[in-house]
């Protein structure tokens, strides 16, 4: 690291924030952001993880609003906080692109499609009309396995973006295995987020401490 800056002075952080804002601000209007996340909300079936593929395509590849490795960091934030994952992801991404207002707009865009559809069902239909509808259930029998594929694809793209080295390549395997065993505390994702953050911190802190004591 060229700048061993811990915390930094008030003015330094102000400057950094300003720089980042100017880097992130210009592209895209609020309307573009909203319609982007409305689309994402409309086609997200099966929870927050399923939206990753669509976000990668829309936000990272098409609009270039965010780098892929930055997106991974945002996913870490979204997953480690409570609440609805899809909304957390939208909030974090919207904030990164357009600040506080952007986060509100992207969260609203993600929520609105399902809110309107469920409201429509609650007002005009009964649950049985949906549940026992042959056409809808057959469509969803096709969509569900495809959604799984939409989550497998970002495993590979994110593994590339994470720049895994021989030292770290085992981590995703162990984490995926232990979480999918579904064994209470051992399978709690928060545990691995804490361990990962702690591990990264120690790998940086211990060597720098040693260097200091040698001087």
């Amino acid at each position: 690291m060229s700048r061993p800056l811990r915390g930094g002075t008030f003015f330094q952080t102000m400057k950094i924030e300003k720089e980042q804002n100017t880097v992130n601000q210009p592209e895209g209007s609020y309307w573009e952001l909203f319609s982007c996340f409305f689309k994402i909300g409309l086609f997200t079936f099966g929870g927050g993880w399923a939206m990753i593929s669509i976000i990668e395509r829309e936000i990272v590849d098409k609009h270039h609003w965010i780098e892929r490795d930055d997106f991974l960091d945002l996913l870490a934030i979204a997953q480690s906080l409570p609440g609805i994952l899809a909304v957390n992801i939208a909030t974090a991404v919207g904030d990164k692109i357009k600040g506080g207002k952007g986060s509100m707009i992207s969260a609203a865009g993600t929520i609105l499609p399902s809110f309107l559809i469920i409201l429509f069902i609650a007002i005009f239909l009964t649950p049985d009309m949906i549940k026992n509808n042959r056409v809808i259930s057959s469509i969803f029998m096709g969509i569900r396995p495809a959604v799984v594929a939409l989550i497998i694809a970002p495993v590979i793209t994110s593994a590339k973006a994470a720049k895994l080295k021989w030292k770290t390549v085992w981590i995703p395997f162990i984490v995926a295995l232990l979480i999918s065993l579904d064994m209470g505390t051992v399978s709690n994702p928060i545990l691995y987020i804490v361990l990962g953050g702690l591990g990264g911190f120690l790998m940086w802190w211990l060597p720098s401490r040693k260097r200091k004591s040698n001087q």
Binding site: G47, L81, I111, P113, A122, I123, P145, A149, S180, P189
Partner: protein
């Protein structure tokens, strides 16, 4: 009116204590809405089924639906579209706002310190973990409910083929009029839905 306050409070709690998103939250939702008798157990199962058949996060779907139904089922005077929509709106906002504030606050904090070595180090440790988290989500969704809901083996194989084709379409680039193009994930979902209708619906 008290039902609205109770509704807001219940969904704020779900928003704060619901870790892991989606189905991990369901038992918490069930306890907080079936327990006080706002909706019946069967209705809750119906809502889960509808959530699986509509887009969007299950947390939002349940908040919207239960917010609509609960006022009328507790107090018959509050039946009607207006009262229902008010409940929907309040419950949905209540489940979203706590985590919205938390995410906003933490990402601002992190951005303010994004040049610090400690934050950089923490995120470099987190990235491999996030890859593992996505992989675990994929593994856990490879279950009977998604691939073989009726327990029929030709359907299982068909669904595996749908999954494999969908993966190839999203992941690989295809030549199209001299250019290499990626097929949009939304397009893949639409095609899978059509395939599902043609295979299982006719």
């Amino acid at each position: 009116m008290t039902i609205y306050w109770k509704l807001i409070w219940a969904y704020i709690k779900i928003g704060i204590f619901g870790f892991g998103g989606g189905y991990a939250m369901l038992s918490l939702v069930e306890k907080s809405v079936v327990g006080p008798g706002w909706i019946s157990e069967t209705m809750f199962t119906d809502i889960v089924a509808i959530s699986q058949m509509t887009p969007g996060p299950i947390g939002i779907n349940s908040a919207t639906y239960i917010g609509y139904v609960a006022p009328g089922s507790v107090n018959p005077e509050l039946t009607g579209i207006g009262w229902g929509i008010m409940g929907s709106l309040l419950a949905t906002l209540a489940v979203v706002i706590p985590s919205f504030i938390l995410v906003l606050y933490s990402s601002h904090f992190i951005r303010r310190h994004s040049e610090s070595g400690a934050i950089k180090a923490i995120f470099s440790g987190l990235r491999p973990v996030v890859v593992g988290l996505i992989a675990s989500a994929a593994i856990m969704l490879m279950n009977a409910a998604n691939f073989n809901p009726n327990g029929i083996s030709w359907q299982l194989w068909t669904n595996i083929v749908i999954c494999a084709i969908a993966f190839c379409l999203v992941y690989f680039k295809f030549p199209w009029r001299g250019k290499k193009i990626n097929i949009h994930p939304i397009m893949v979902i639409v095609m899978a839905g059509i395939a599902g209708y043609l295979i299982y619906g006719l």
